[in-house]
Amino acid sequence: MKRIKEKAIYFFFFFTGILAVIILLGIFLMLLLNGLQTFKDVRFSDFFFGTVWNPSAYKESSYGILSMVVSTFMVTLGAMVIAVPLGIGTATYIAEIASERIKNFLRSVIGILAGIPSVVIGFIGIVLVGPFIAKVFNLSSGLNALNGSILLAAMSLPTIISISEEAIREVPKNYKVASYALGANRWTTLVRVTIPAAFSGIIVSIMLGIGRAIGETMTVLMVTGNAPAMPHSFFDSVRTMTATIAIEMGEVPYGTTHYYSLFAIGAVLFLISLGVNLVAELVTAKYRGAK
């Protein structure tokens, strides 16, 4: 009797365990099946390479996602330009220079920053960053790609800092000692030995930061202006893939091509985040292997 009970318990936990796999597959299938319906009415090439997204146009509705893909990558790239130097610099400071007290303080700061809901960050973008950008660059509105990049940078910083800091901390001490013994000073050792040795870990942190930025919805929805056109500069109003889904899902009638096309965009997002994750895992594996 005990045997059967134990077996049952095992199977219970087994099913909850594979639940994650089931859900992942479920999400993928849902996106795929719904998304593929789009292509009954829209050509693949039009979807992926068309620059005009206007599904509800009266006469010629078009379903080109290129503009929003470019917008997504643009805002993400801008965010990384800001967040990567700041993040690696702060991580290095925490790992190598800061005293115990400052370390704890900074780690708390980063933890708090990480916990701030995206809608709050978006709100700050509207009330603080937007007007600031408008004033400094003499624009009528501060809701543009630049605003989005700044906010996304703030959101990616905790990820980049904490993972990079760990990587730098784990560099074996004897590399540093060897460098000192060869007559290098602290800064040279840092730049030429410690940071390069932590490179893989830093790359992973950046990849995860990118993943976060690409998938972010509310922040970009609130501050990038949401003009669905191909952007030409960081001062343009842009609309990302995530924002498009968020805006149009509410207005779209169930079962129309427009409805399915939003799932297609979701599928593209899903695949991108999967790809970023895969690269991060490959780099991690190589990193562990080299150790």
Binding site: Y175, V177, A178, A181, L182, G183, A184, A290
Partner: protein, 250 residues
């Protein structure tokens, strides 16, 4: 000239006295070995000489440490420059996680040397001088971490030779290696002494008697006896030395 002279040198870790009033003269272009039981300060002594003990917060050095007849145990001396003249080989080989070439070139690059040809020449010379060139000349861009232990240690020696030091400190350089590698490195030491002053710390007495010209016996932070290697091992003057050499205590 004596390359390194220690006058009443003492080392403290906080309250503990590790090195106790040492007076020692290290002759130029010879191999001097420091032998003694484990934990009696041999490594700490070595680390005083290239000021690596500066990295330990509690450490304090008293007394004079003369290098080329100038005291380097003072605040106004440039520690970073000293370390380029006094190189160190560590107990466990610690090549950087870079290519073989970049490991040897490291010291040159931080000096600001950019001439590619010059760097290649020095890298090759250093690898030849450390008897490693033949084994790695076709894989200079391979990772240094893939070399065997003995090869890694010779790489570390090449890395040090590249910056042309005057003194090489060796902290039990063979203790992590197999006997064959060890003998190779001992041969290398004998070649190197023609150009460099070598100070060797070892717990392997046979090694000391094989390669060194002078030997000092360090016990409990004090130099008990110092002299010609032959004399130390055949007719030691102090009883303590005699006891240690005959294995009466480990």
């Amino acid at each position: 000239m004596d390359k390194i002279v220690m006058k009443d040198l003492s080392l403290f870790y906080g309250e503990k006295k590790i090195i106790d009033n040492i007076n020692l003269n290290i002759p130029e272009k010879k191999i001097t070995a420091i032998i003694g039981p484990s934990g009696c300060g041999k490594t700490s002594l070595l680390r005083c000489i290239n000021r690596l003990n500066d990295l330990i917060p509690d450490a304090k050095i008293e007394g004079q440490l003369l290098f080329n007849e100038k005291d380097i145990n003072t605040d106004d001396v440039d520690v970073v420059e000293i370390r380029k003249k006094i190189g160190m080989i560590f107990q466990k080989p610690n090549p950087f996680p870079k290519s073989i070439f970049e490991n040897v070139a490291f010291g040159l690059r931080i000096e600001g040397i950019r001439d590619k040809r010059k760097i290649s020449e020095i890298v090759e010379k250093s690898l030849r001088d450390s008897d490693l060139w033949g084994e790695v000349k076709f894989q200079l861009n391979g990772s240094a971490l893939e070399l065997s232990g003995g090869q890694q240690q010779r790489l570390c020696i090449a890395r040090t030779l590249a910056i042309e030091p005057e003194v090489i400190l060796m902290d039990e350089p063979c203790s992590a290696l197999d006997p064959t590698s060890m003998l190779k490195i001992e041969e290398l030491m004998k070649e190197l002494k023609e150009q460099y002053t070598i100070l060797l710390v070892t717990h392997n007495m046979q090694q000391a008697s094989r390669v060194s010209d002078f030997t000092g016996f360090l016990y409990m932070g004090k130099i008990i006896e110092f002299g010609d290697t032959n004399q130390i091992f055949t007719r030691p003057k102090e009883k303590l030395t005699d006891d240690y050499i005959s294995g009466r205590f480990a």
